[in-house]
Symmetry: C2
Subunit: 644 residues, 2 copies
């Protein structure tokens, strides 16, 4: 292909998979862009980073700088939700080249009369673009450049910084080149900073044996707010299938009184747009959402795309399920295991476009009818990737506030692909990362290797599906440590709440699953409980709310300690007004002493007061390495760094 431009633009970063996916930010964050920009020969080049919100008509422009050969940098800030496009433009800067060369010739005592005539042409080209003062200056320069009698004055003008500034400000971008356009999607702040509490609404009652309701949930809101949670997530609230319903502890045959799993969705009472009758009505849900909102809590629903055998879809849209040659419908299986209470949706159906539309309508229904703005998506990795890319995109076009948490505990590349398709947040392997090495390596990988451009972790110590082995004892320190790490390493965090506060720790033998799981039965909790775990979770959540350095994840900097069980890390707000240092003893049974190194590369060498925001104690640290001792009774420090 014949292209006359002399500029080549390569290796533009950030960029995901050749630009087919967008990167992610929240409102107010920056995008640091770099590129290799090359021109033949010795001419100086100019280049700019151009950016534009999807609703803007005009591009904004910021000039790029270079710190090394052929690599250029610039930054722009995203101020609004939605898509921004960004692009790099590069050009040969003839006027600056001229000034640079002419200055050198003048310094070499060469006669530059011909060069001055060229300079006059560059000046004339800018007359119509420049301001009044600039125009005046240019006119004087033109006159001097063209009048041999003013030669020595002309030499001064030619080399002047005034002229340099004007040339710099108004580049003539002849034969410029542009990179392909790239995209960044900008979310509201909650995408990056959220604190989740999960419970089963049917366990919200305070009366033994009574099915909880949305009205019961309303009564629990003040407690959740007081504990500093801002997101209340419910497992599916839809009618529960009655055919092949599972019994307690996942028994294949349910007893008559068994309530079944909320993930077995659909019965004669309705499907994905209906509410399980015993929980209440749509109106009850709306009331709950509004009351929660008044306490700065958002209600998150589960988006679980599967059907019980008695889901209305099965009769109304049989083409959305897979039918076997013997005329039976295909239930879920992972041979030799069978899941007869669940029928997977058949995305390969010929009627897939109507299917997709209906599933989109389901999500839109809860957004538009009940004011839901957060979905936790169940097993998204068992539905097609491109389906998610489309569904999330369609919803965000109409409702950019809506956020999606991907519940995909699977292989890394699969989790990454879901994030690239548009999931706002993702569950992670944090649940199983315990040693200093494991935690450091995992968090470094997520925050420092390019994953930070698209993958937003949400750290959970437990979920209804996962009671990790290390929580299968009543070691209080372990429960404190895991929440502390989750909530200070990651700005998105959550717990499956009541069982965590109660230290419910009995698992199925040899498995990381809860015994007598709430997935299959109603549990009664003492919602008046205020124990040490409750108290410290509350404390940590309020500290997160007050300290902006804890409201993002990619700012983490690990700090060395001389003790294998002591982990330490530093975080800072973008403006550096808020700086915190976390130190945690990962050994839940013994006290440990250690020397911990301050991150002097970031904070400098001046003495610092470290104020423990949990205990209120403060220490004056005037050395690089400082002594700490942590007991299992309170196995961490959450220091604020202060110099005033």
């Amino acid at each position: 292909m014949q292209r006359q431009t002399r500029l080549v633009i390569q290796n533009v970063k950030p960029q995901l998979d050749n630009g087919i996916y967008f990167i992610k930010r929240i409102v107010g964050q920056e995008v640091n862009v770099s590129a290799d920009i090359l021109a033949d020969g010795h001419d100086a080049l100019g280049c700019s980073l151009n950016f534009k919100h999807e609703t803007d008509k005009k591009w904004s422009e910021v000039r790029m700088n270079s710190h090394t050969y052929d690599e250029f940098f610039a930054t722009f800030k995203v101020e609004k939700q939605g898509f921004y496009n960004y692009q790099i433009e590069a050009w040969i800067d003839y006027a600056l080249n001229w000034q640079h060369g002419t200055t050198r010739k003048i310094q070499d005592h060469q006669i530059v009369k011909s060069e001055l005539l060229e300079g006059a042409l560059f000046c004339k080209a800018l007359l119509s673009k420049s301001s009044k003062t600039e125009k005046k200056f240019l006119e004087i320069a033109i006159e001097a450049f063209e009048d041999e009698k003013k030669y020595s004055f002309a030499l001064d003008l030619a080399q002047s910084s005034e002229l340099h500034q004007i040339f710099l400000k108004y580049p003539t971008k002849t034969l410029s080149n542009k990179s392909p356009e790239l995209q960044v999607y900008v979310d509201r702040k909650k995408a990056l900073f959220s604190t989740w509490y999960e419970f089963f609404p049917r366990s919200a009652s305070s009366v033994e044996g009574k099915h909880g309701t949305f009205k019961d949930c309303e009564k629990l809101l003040p407690r959740i707010a007081e504990m500093g949670f801002d997101t209340l997530y419910f497992p599916p609230i839809h009618p529960i299938g009655e055919i092949n319903r599972k019994g307690k502890n996942n028994a294949t045959i349910a007893q008559i009184e068994d309530v079944g799993s909320p993930w077995g969705i659909g019965s004669k009472y309705g499907g994905h747009k209906s509410i399980h009758p015993e929980l209440g009505t749509l109106k009850d849900l709306k009331n709950l959402v509004q009351k929660a909102q008044a306490l700065d809590i958002e209600v998150a629903l589960d988006f679980a795309l599967q059907a019980a055998p008695d889901h209305p879809y099965v009769k109304e849209h049989p083409q959305w399920f897979k039918w076997r040659p013997d005329g039976t419908v295909q239930y879920a299986e992972n041979p030799p295991k069978k899941y007869q209470d669940i029928q997977p949706i058949y995305f390969e159906s010929d009627d897939w476009k109507n299917l997709w539309q209906e599933l989109l309508d389901v999500a839109l229904y809860w957004v538009e009818e009940a004011g839901i703005k957060i979905f936790r998506v169940d097993n998204p990795h068992t539905k097609p990737f491109y389906f998610w890319g489309w569904l999330i995109g369609e919803i965000k076009k109409k409702h950019p506030d809506v956020l999606f948490l991907a519940e995909a505990f699977t292989r890394p590349k699969i989790m990454h692909e879901l994030a690239k398709q548009g999931f706002t947040q993702s569950y992670t392997y944090f649940t199983w990362r315990n040693s200093k090495h494991e935690l450091t390596a995992y968090v470094e990988e997520m925050t420092k290797t390019g994953q930070n451009e698209f993958f937003r972790p949400n750290f959970w110590p437990n979920t209804p599906d996962i009671l990790p082995f290390h929580l299968q004892s009543q070691n209080e320190a372990m429960y404190l440590i895991k929440y502390f790490l989750a909530a200070t390493l990651s700005s998105n965090t959550g717990i499956y709440g009541p069982v965590y506060e109660y230290m419910i720790h009995e698992g199925l033998p040899g498995k990381e699953e809860y015994l007598n799981s709430e997935k299959y039965e109603i549990r009664l909790w003492d919602w008046q409980l205020r124990n040490k775990i409750t108290a410290l979770i509350t404390k940590i959540n309020l500290i997160r709310r007050d300290n902006t350095s804890l409201q993002q994840t990619n700012n983490v900097v690990f700090c060395p300690s001389d003790q294998e069980s002591i982990i330490s890390y530093y975080k800072f707000s973008d403006d550096k007004h808020n700086q915190t240092l976390m130190v945690c003893n990962l050994e839940p049974s013994y006290n440990k002493q250690a020397l911990v190194r301050l991150p002097v590369e970031h904070i400098g060498h001046q003495p610092v007061r470290v104020l423990d925001l949990i205990t209120g104690n403060s220490y004056w640290w005037d050395k690089e390495w400082n002594f700490i001792e942590l007991h299992p009774t309170l196995p961490f420090h959450l220091f604020k760094l202060e110099w005033h």
Copy 2:
């Protein structure tokens, strides 16, 4: 965008800059392709690497394999010159999934009657595709699967490897996905294995003061062939400008007898399509090219796009030059330096399309009129990158044998961009890499970090423009070491010959330039010379010709030694039939002893005979680390490894 496919294909390698550039191979080489391929859920996926030469109508296909989660690999061999396209296709393999799941159920003693009916459908779909024997087998299976009386026979068939093989062979690629197409350009072998000798034809005469001619050059061909060179490169052979001609040692004012620089192209005798009258005629050149060819030598010309002030273009196409406001033409400059003997071509001309066409015609002229198939391109980095991409592409469309060596001693990214635009080979920094660390790091960077996909180095110890400091003494060992390293590290190598053989070492004070450079004057050489340097260059060249492991560059494996001045590296042919081990003492003044480690990861631990192909001596090495001693009189071993 709505796409029903469940497959995602990412991270396809090799791939340059989002696939906008092609990678490179020579005929007979392999392309190892890998990709991340993902599907939702648990279904097994199938994938193939599809490839096709530009003249092929149909794609060939090779199935990809996986050694780890979600990453797949396959290889194809390029057999013809020109472009190949390659692409990955992935699909869900329903039939194999069915067999896998059904087998597990059978092993779990489940009833699989319904599954067998499904199996019959998979078999029926293949009846029309399969061979006679396969069809027979499928018919038996269908009958058994559908007949409850043959249930136990059907179970055997369902689990059979015969059925597995048929399913594997004929995948139904429903809802498959394909990666974008990528390209590899395949050159003839010379692109990767070439041995260059450069001299100035005007110095080819054996009579003092007489201008050499192409006829004189003919007489030198046997000597060059005998020394094992296969490429004879001449600086520009065109009429030399007479206006502002440079004198000896680059003097600004030439004397009447001065011959000028061959790079100052164009005079009243013609321009880029003409021959300097004193060298001879086009017929003489053609004779030379043919006689060289008979000795397996190709003649390479210089492609130097610039004009002397009296070049015919200046009058015929003034629009191809830049004119200053005072009516003078712009000569080359790098302020405050001026090059008044050279006028750069103005690629920003409005008439650029005619200009490009003319420059293409120049190259085509020498290809089509004189049989030239190799160009050494002078300073390509001072002409637009896209111009080269276009010009090289256009020539290769008609003449795929034509090769281009880029003479761009400049910043790495610039050199890489030229290679990506299509240059076959590139000069390198080898000229200045001397220590073990420098050589190892540089060669590892070129061969192991992705540059190997597009950048083919050509190692030159010297050029007419560069007499590096370390060659500015008559240290014979240094001349031997640098040629040995160039010719065994890189399969493309070359020297600016007569001055190297003669150890011409006097430079301009403080500069890496030759005193009394042939660039500005005619030199007389004793072409009968056969000294030790000549002898060892000859030996090394013949060893290169006989040992295929030395005919590529990316196969190099560095081997540790315990002595800072001893470098060692191993090379192997693709079939491993030829394996060589090089050991060189980089210290040119002292003898050195060292232990050198055999590359046991590649050759295994069995004892090996190392035969020095230079001296004929051989040693039996039965340990991992082996003793060597190298004297400056013969500062290297070039071992062939033998086990028979």
